[in-house]
């Protein structure tokens, strides 16, 4: 019977399924490749869950509809891919400033500009550095499997509510389009009391959700309060390690590259190289302290990314710039495990011997 509970679905579908299971009842989106399975799934299944799917006139409208729905306390989501996520940045900034939760999925494609539809990790800076205007952060979760697409989406809703802050799920075209077995599980997150939600001022004082603070000192105070909240988010740091205990070289990657890298690391270990893998699951907050501790006994690190180098900067800030090498692939093709293995071997011979 357990086997019948296993589905074969795309990463995109797993995200949509996880969202509905987590209690998301409002979805607003605009078509863009390679994430269309998400709105398509939602358009079919949200109504039967008692929710509303709405195809908006633009990415800008989508994020603002999310802002409106989430301001009433409902769980809401929007999804898009790189160029569309750029358009949503204004809204994400307002969500942060007004402390309204929401889940934003970026199944990223490649840029800059219209770029292409192949996978890329070039939106790392945009996702982890706020992305829009103002001094703010969003929690960023990076799944590397279809199962994780489902699990982390459920988690994203819980974190968004807990911190009254938007949460970004950063996947890519590869993760969204690949099919894998998925074991759906029940959502067990606790409901948060939303004593800020706009529900009409019936028998209580009127409520206000805003990001404008013009009085003397008000905005400074607001920004420090948000800053303290972003620091508290450090308790949500998640990561995965493979074979780092005896490693002399630790390779660091997230999302789909980490997935491919798992095979490459196995190959290296079979060849007798002391190579470990470190995969950040939360890209913001980045697992800086864990990596710093790891650097006390590991001499060398290597970042691998589907970009010309973004996450590598966080790695360098964590372990120091002198012990980090980088292998980057701008968008256009997906590296095979063999290719990544060869890059690891080259680095291992040079740095370790």
């Amino acid at each position: 019977m357990a086997r019948s509970n296993t589905l074969l679905v795309k990463g995109n579908e797993a995200i949509a399924m996880g969202a509905i299971e987590a209690g998301c009842r409002y979805y607003f989106g605009y078509p863009i490749t390679p994430q269309n399975d998400i709105p398509e799934y939602m358009s079919r299944h949200l109504p039967e869950a008692g929710g509303t799917f709405l195809q908006a006139e633009s990415e800008i409208a989508s994020i603002n509809m999310l802002l409106g729905a989430a301001a009433t306390g409902a769980r809401a989501m929007t999804s898009s891919s790189s160029p569309g996520i750029s358009l949503k940045q204004e809204g994400i900034s307002y969500l942060c400033g007004s402390q309204i939760p929401g889940v934003i999925v970026n199944m990223s494609r490649s840029g800059p500009g219209l770029g292409g539809i192949s996978p890329s990790q070039g939106d790392y800076f945009q996702a982890t550095r706020g992305g829009g205007h103002g001094d703010y952060r969003t929690i960023v979760l990076a799944p590397h499997s279809v199962q994780e697409c489902y699990d982390l989406t459920m988690r994203a809703f819980d974190l968004a509510d807990r911190y009254r802050n938007p949460v970004v799920i950063l996947g890519d075209a590869l993760l969204g389009q690949m099919k894998e077995p998925l074991k759906p599980r029940k959502h067990r997150g606790k409901a948060v009391d939303k004593d800020w939600a706009l529900t009409g001022a019936g028998g209580r004082e009127p409520r206000l959700l805003k990001s404008l603070y013009l009085s003397e000192g008000e905005l400074t105070k607001h920004n420090w309060m948000l800053h303290r909240k972003y620091r508290r988010m450090r308790r949500e740091i998640r990561y995965e390690t493979v074979g780092v205990e005896d490693a002399k070289l630790v390779v660091v990657a997230f999302g789909s590259v980490a997935r491919i890298l798992k095979n490459a690391v196995s190959m290296a270990r079979e060849q007798g190289m002391a190579v470990g893998l470190f995969r950040p699951v939360t890209l913001y907050p980045f697992p800086q302290a864990v990596l710093r501790r790891l650097a006390e006994r590991v001499n060398r690190f290597m970042a691998l990314e589907l970009s010309t180098g973004q996450m590598v900067e966080d790695l360098q800030l964590s372990v120091g710039p002198d012990v980090v090498d980088f292998y980057g692939r701008p968008p256009g093709s997906i590296p095979s495990p063999d290719e990544l293995y060869r890059e690891i071997r080259k680095n291992y011979r040079k740095r370790i011997g």
Partner: protein, 248 residues
């Protein structure tokens, strides 16, 4: 003694910050009276826009959500979809609604969202210091049309009420002014109709108000109100452009 005039319950007991002669205060009051009239205060969610009306939340004793510039209609869509039994209104200026927010207002109207839109047209960007708006009249001097608005450079003043009336999704569309007691009473009636469209779940209501901006027009309050009557109304005719009892 019988009290004949008082502050609406939906209006907070604070003085408006608006410039002398500005019509925002009157329009705020009309909206608050309407909320009271339909008994909606405890289930109203207002959506504030960006511009002089951004401080809406200081004046209305209802739940208020701030929208990014131009996005009020999309924000209100999200609120209404999540709270279909609540009363949702946006209050937007001409820079907000007719320039940066054109896409959002057209599509919210076209979807027939059950929301009420209060659109204040004073033919300038007020809060930023009197720059040209899409509604600025031809020849009108603003800080960014120092030689007067020239259609060969900046196109024509946009008539939003007429555009909205063309959309199948709208239920009630009118343009009003508060320059004379007679027009004010008509405006009150129009606002009630637009409220009714939502309260009776019939559809999207849109009321455009011609409004004076003495500060940026560089006029006295009296001159500015006369300017509405003599210059704005001829280009922006008052009236009901659509009244659909049974829309699609």
């Amino acid at each position: 003694m019988k009290q004949v005039f008082k502050r609406p319950k939906s209006l907070a007991d604070v003085p408006f910050h608006f410039c002398p002669g500005c019509h925002h205060g009157i329009i705020h009051r009309l909206v608050a009276e309407c909320i009271d009239r339909f008994g909606l205060r405890e289930r109203t969610i207002g959506v504030a826009s960006v511009g002089c009306s951004v401080f809406l939340y200081d004046y209305f004793a209802v739940d208020v959500l701030e929208a990014p510039h131009g996005r009020a209609a999309a924000v209100a869509t999200g609120v209404k979809r999540a709270r279909p039994d609540d009363f949702i209104f946006t209050y937007q200026g001409d820079g907000d609604l007719a320039a940066i927010g054109t896409a959002e207002i057209i599509h919210a109207a076209n979807r027939g969202e059950r929301i009420t839109v209060v659109f204040v047209n004073n033919a300038v960007f007020g809060m930023t210091g009197g720059q040209m708006a899409p509604t600025t009249l031809l020849g009108q001097q603003t800080t960014t049309t120092p030689f007067g608005r020239d259609e060969s450079l900046s196109g024509y003043p946009i008539r939003m009420a007429e555009i909205m009336a063309q959309l199948t999704g709208t239920c009630y569309v009118a343009r009003c002014a508060v320059d004379t007691p007679k027009n004010l009473m008509r405006a009150k009636k129009s606002l009630q109709k637009a409220f009714e469209a939502q309260v009776e779940n019939r559809g999207f209501g849109f009321v455009e108000f011609l409004s004076a901006c003495p500060t940026n027009w560089k006029m006295t309050p009296q001159q500015a109100t006369a300017h509405v009557t003599e210059v704005m109304v001829p280009y922006y005719p008052l009236g009901v452009f659509k009244e659909d009892e049974n829309p699609n």
